[in-house]
Structure formats: structure tokens, C-alpha cells
Symmetry: C2
Subunit: 431 residues, 2 copies
Amino acid sequence: MGLRFEIVAEDKATGARAGLLHTPHGIVETPVFMPVGTAGTVKGMTQGQLEELGVQILLANTYHLYLRPGYETIRELGGLHRFMAWPHPTLTDSGGFQVLSLKSLGRVTEDGVWFKSHLDGSSHFLSPERAIEVQLALGADIIMTLDECVAYPASREAVQRAVKLTGRWARRAKEKLSALSSQPSASGGTKGWGLGTRETPLVADTQPPASEPQASKQSPITNHPSPIASPQQSTIDNRQLAIPAPSLFGIVQGGVDKDLRRESVEAVLELEFEGYALGGLSVGEPKAEMYEVAEYTAQLLPRDRPRYLMGVGTPEDLVECVARGIDMFDCVLPTRNARNGSAFTSQGKVIIKNTKYARDESALDPACECPVCRRYSRSYIRHLFVAGEMLGAILTTQHNLHFYVDRMRKIRQSLLFGAFAEFHSRARSQA
Amino acid sequence: MGLRFEIVAEDKATGARAGLLHTPHGIVETPVFMPVGTAGTVKGMTQGQLEELGVQILLANTYHLYLRPGYETIRELGGLHRFMAWPHPTLTDSGGFQVLSLKSLGRVTEDGVWFKSHLDGSSHFLSPERAIEVQLALGADIIMTLDECVAYPASREAVQRAVKLTGRWARRAKEKLSALSSQPSASGGTKGWGLGTRETPLVADTQPPASEPQASKQSPITNHPSPIASPQQSTIDNRQLAIPAPSLFGIVQGGVDKDLRRESVEAVLELEFEGYALGGLSVGEPKAEMYEVAEYTAQLLPRDRPRYLMGVGTPEDLVECVARGIDMFDCVLPTRNARNGSAFTSQGKVIIKNTKYARDESALDPACECPVCRRYSRSYIRHLFVAGEMLGAILTTQHNLHFYVDRMRKIRQSLLFGAFAEFHSRARSQA
């Protein structure tokens, strides 16, 4: 286990916990919310602004980066941290969720997923092995196995099939990572500009292994026609690196069916991942079911490993799911809503384009102490949205991310102080 | 004269000077470049980022703010400084340039300019008097007279007519401001949020005077149908204010014709403005003519008043026109070019979308020390532009503004050190 996870406080009544996740790029305090940096940027935010907000770990989407600028490019540029100039922890998803959520673009086979690029329609293939290779090239601290996520509602058969396939894919992913990690050398860019003093995360040997599934060989990476460079062909400086392999998380599927969730948990636990993610939730099921399944699944997972609830959620979800034993979250809600002019506040949502804010001199959230609320008025931010000015989305994104990060800080603080029950019940009464 | 302008250093050979411009919202070091905040925002920049870059004064466009959110709204919200949360010096143009540069939308009469909104086609009328009223409502530190700017090339008759009309309008503007300034009370919003500790700039009595030209009465402000509020009707707190009136600058026209420039200078000098602007340059004439006319005009203007060259220019123009006695500049070039992916650098322009930057790990400008060049690579910024991510425009804008502000700082420093001639010749050899 390369990923050290310490539990520093725990709420006996609920099993909620505060922890420390030690990654190669720094320590993450859990429970944690990970902003989504889809294409290697949290839309509208500079990396400096994210640091100021106290963001500790970013999520980036393998699907988007694979298509543009391409994982080879990012590998040659020294990996995602250096490419993005974000020298702090990162996590990449496997790419499967995007492929499958763009329904018309994806087709699942035993070997993996065929999909078409939403950019140019070109065909691509993502196998469990290739998802590992691509993520290794990106170089995040935490990477995910390829899974099949089914929408809600789905037949029991469809969910069961996804559970079994996700289990087989998890094994192949684990084996692929083990095989690559045991190979003698890794190469990566270390040429120095900007963040040159940081170590470059593992960039694995990228020779396609002989065991690659047949289908994979038929899938030209049409956007990036150059062959995968061997270390010798690399255009940038190479040197032997002794960086720990990224931590691989396994994903539990099973929809809202507890038996299937248990089956999926057993399949991934057998493989011993460094952390466990709950997939296939917040995909349309009623909130009560989501909470129930999260709770049921979390208690089946080992206490000493981080638990990550993928794609969740609202500010209320964060509290409710920490109370069910979850440590990590990601969601586009704070950033996407911000770009649509919807601000999260202590008094609920503020739809800033609303005419009633035209002469409102108060802050987006009068109770908020973020840099946006300390400086700008609703009237000004409304004007920016009405006039189509970028700054409207920028300020609202900054505020919403502060709202999420601040909420997680307060949850964690309440756990450290042994006051989570109070925090939880207060949050419930305000929701 | 409310606007104190101190000359602190002067280059004997050229007449270039470094000064201090004392405004109600702080001191501006000249020569100065004013970024353009068209609709009350420098596109893509937070006010905090502008402060970090060392921006000392912002320009906002009366035309845009008049149409949206409306000058009454800004007046009621305590003026532009408070509305924008920019407690530092500001300058507004008269609105005439936008009206006339959107040719199909404007029609010039003796009384003023009829124009149609580019937003909804509604009809509006801008007279020299109304331009003053609107700018007083906005509350900038420095305001401009309405002028007629003719494009290049134009017949001598057209330029002469514009010179004479600009002169008559300058007199009407001056008289309007004097009339309003001598009225007993002014009202403005002072309700406190955010920047509440700052004084609110003058918001003049806005009762339409009986001397208003006939045409003006026929122009409903269709976007903002509510009647201009008297102090008693105002929806926000009012109190007597003792803030100095804004400083009004007169504008010199005359195209590239020296006789007409002289005629225009004489007309505005007679009226004794607090500063003088050179309009009608950088509108298509050859660069050498622009420099020659700027130099000729500047030496006709009083030494002890600031000289503002409107709408100029390139980094080279800044040095060349300081060398011709100019103190103030504004231009959309650094911000607009940035949004199109064109960066100003010590090595010339970098068109960042160019394929050759796809794996370029160097900074936009390796010689630059701005926050963008210290952190991000060309490859990353190119990716942002190719992917259509906001952060591309944000980072390039930040860099370009730094480039302009830094250039002005260096010009000023060379003047203070008595080394302007060297700076000037070095800049010429690099251009």
C-alpha cells in the first residue's frame, strides 16, 4: 500500500471520520471535496485562486485530456502536475464515465469500450489496461479502474452484468498496473521551467504489452497519430525516476440493489485496492436511496482505506454522506452552476440574473467571507452576467468553490472537535 | 483647477515627463497606461488581479454603461467606483467615440448625436450636456467632453467641421459642468457594504435644466424608463457630500492637419480644461503622421496640464509618444489581443495557438516576471485556447496587461533616473 491514510478523528454514532491522505504531492485532509478540472483547468479559475481557496486536490478527466491535448503530450511535458502548474495532489478518473454518459458515442464489449470522440467523431478504444496506461502517462497521484456505470433506472440484469464486468475489469486494471510497476525503468520529462523543483510523478514504460486485447490493436489513436514514444525516442530529457506508482482505487457498482453492491464490494476487496470508490450513484435515483446505498456500501468497506463517492453532490449531500462514512467527493455542481449564474449561499441558491438583484448592494452571500463576497455586490455580478462578461462566471465560480471547500473544512473541524452530531443536525435543520 | 498635476522629472531633449496626477481616489503616476474596462470590467480580470498588476487607473466606456446597466442604476449604487468595487482612480470617455465608430448607428447634429443602441436598436440622444450628466452619474475622477472624431482619411472640410463642432461642444460641456457644480447639493448612495469606508464621488443634482436642448427632451432613455430620481426620491441613503467635482478634459481634433490641430488647441485652451486629450489619432493614418501630429499638438498644450492620447497604442507607440510629451494612454490592444491568443513579449508577438507551441515548456515571455510567466507554460496556455477554456484568455490578458504596465513603469523609471534617452533608443533598436 503506497497510499497512507490516517484516521485522525471518528464520530462513533455515525462512523463519519476525519483523516489524512498522504500522496506523493502532499497531504490531503479528509473529508475532502475535489473540484473538477475537466480539461486540466477548473473553468475560469487560475491555479493561484484555487490555492487561495484552500483546494487540496483536483480531479481531471482522462477522457478529455486523452482527446486533447493527448496523453502523450502531457507525458512528454512531465505529467499533469507540471503541465497544469498544479504541484499539489491530483486524481484522474478512468475515462469510462464520460464515454458511457455520452451514450450515442460508446459501446461496451468484454474487452473495453469503443467510443467516438465528441470533438471529431474519430473512433477510439478504452480497455481497462489502456485506462491504466493513459492515466500513468497523465501522472495523477490517484487513478481509477475502468468501470461500467449504468444509469437509473436499469434492470437488475443490466446492473448485475455491470457489476460483474466492473469486477473483471478491476482485476485486469490491477494486473496491468502491477506489471508496469514491476518493469525496470520509467521515464519522464524533467526539464526545468516553473515548477522544476518538484519531482515528476511516475511515467511508466509505455511499450504496448503483448497481452493487449485484440480490439485495442485495432484502435488507432487518430487524434494523436504519432506512435507511443519509447524512452529512447522521447524528445525531452529522460532520467531514471524513483517515484512511487500512483494509487489505484477500485470502483463498486451495483445501482441501488444492496445484494449487488455487496457482490461488487466483495469482488473489489479481493483485489486489495488502495482506496474504494462508490460509482453508479447520483445518476437519477431518489436521494433517500442514494444515501441508503452509500451507507450500506461504506460499512462493507475496510475502515482503514479512503472511500470516494463519485460525482456527488449538493452541499447537503456532502454532510449526509460524510455521516455515512464517505471521505472524498467530486462534482461539477459548484462550478457548472456558477457559470449559469447560480450561487450557493447560506440562505440557499441565488439566481443572480434575477431582476430583483439589479440594485442589490449586498454580497452574493452576506454571511460569506470569501474574496468575492468581501468585495463585490450582487448588483455588479448580475450586471456582469447580463452583459455576458467573463468576470461574472469567474466570481461566482470562486464563491461557489469557497462555499464547498468551506463546508468541508467545517465538517472536518466538527469531527476534530467531537461535535459532528451537532453540525449534522444543524445542517439538516437548515436544509 | 481641482486636479493637481505635478511634474517630477522631465527629459530636456524630448520633453518627455514623469508626473503625479492627484485624483479624489488616489495618485496616478504618469506616464500611465489605462486598461479599458468597457462595461465596468476589464474582460477576464478580477479587480484584485488588476491591483496586483499595479494598474493605477481604469477607463470605462460611458456608451456601454449608459445602455447597461444604465447610469441611473450606477448612480443609485453609489457610482462606478463602488459599483465595480474599484476604489482607485477612474476615467470615463464621453460616449461619443463608440457612437460614431458604430457608423450606421450614429447621426451628428449641432445639438449632439442621435444613435441607436447596438443591444436593442432603441433610439438615444447624446448632447455635450447629457454626456456630462451621464458621466457625473457614473462618478469617474476624470471625465471627457463630447467630441466629433472623424476617421482617416477624411476631407479637410470634414475635419475642419469636426474641429469647430468639437470646440462648440467643449464650451457647452464646460458650461454644463460649471452650472451643475455651482448648484447647492449633490446626492449619492453611501450605504455601506464592501468598500463602504471610501467616500463616494460626486453625483450631481440630476434635475434636467431648462436650458436642455430641444432634441434631448425627445430622447427617451428607453432602456431605463424610470424617471431620473431626485434626491428625495432616491431609494438609497442620501447625505450631503462635499466631494470635489470630477476633472473635465477637453479634446483636440484636427486629423493630421497641423493648422486644424492648432485651431482646435486654441479653441479648447481658451476654455481652460484640467487636462487635454488628443483625439482623432490612431484611426488609420500612417504611424509616422500619428507621431508627428502628437508631437506637434503636445507642444502647443500647457506644460502643467496632463496630456492624454486617446486609443493609443502598441508598446512601441507608448515609448514614442511619451517621447513626444504624452502622459496618459488607453487602448484595448493588450486585452483584446489576449482574448484572441496574441501575447506581447520582449521578443515580439506570440500567437499562442500556433502548433509550434504545443510542446513548448517555456513561458509566454521567458524574460517576463509576471505571475503568468512564472507559473505557466506556452504548451498549457495553447491547450487552453485550443480547448476553448476561459483560463487561456485570463492568463494571456494578465500577461499582456503586465507587459503594458511594466513598460510604463520602466519608461517612468528611466525618466526619474535621467536615462530616458537611453531607454528610448534601446526600445527603438528592439522594435
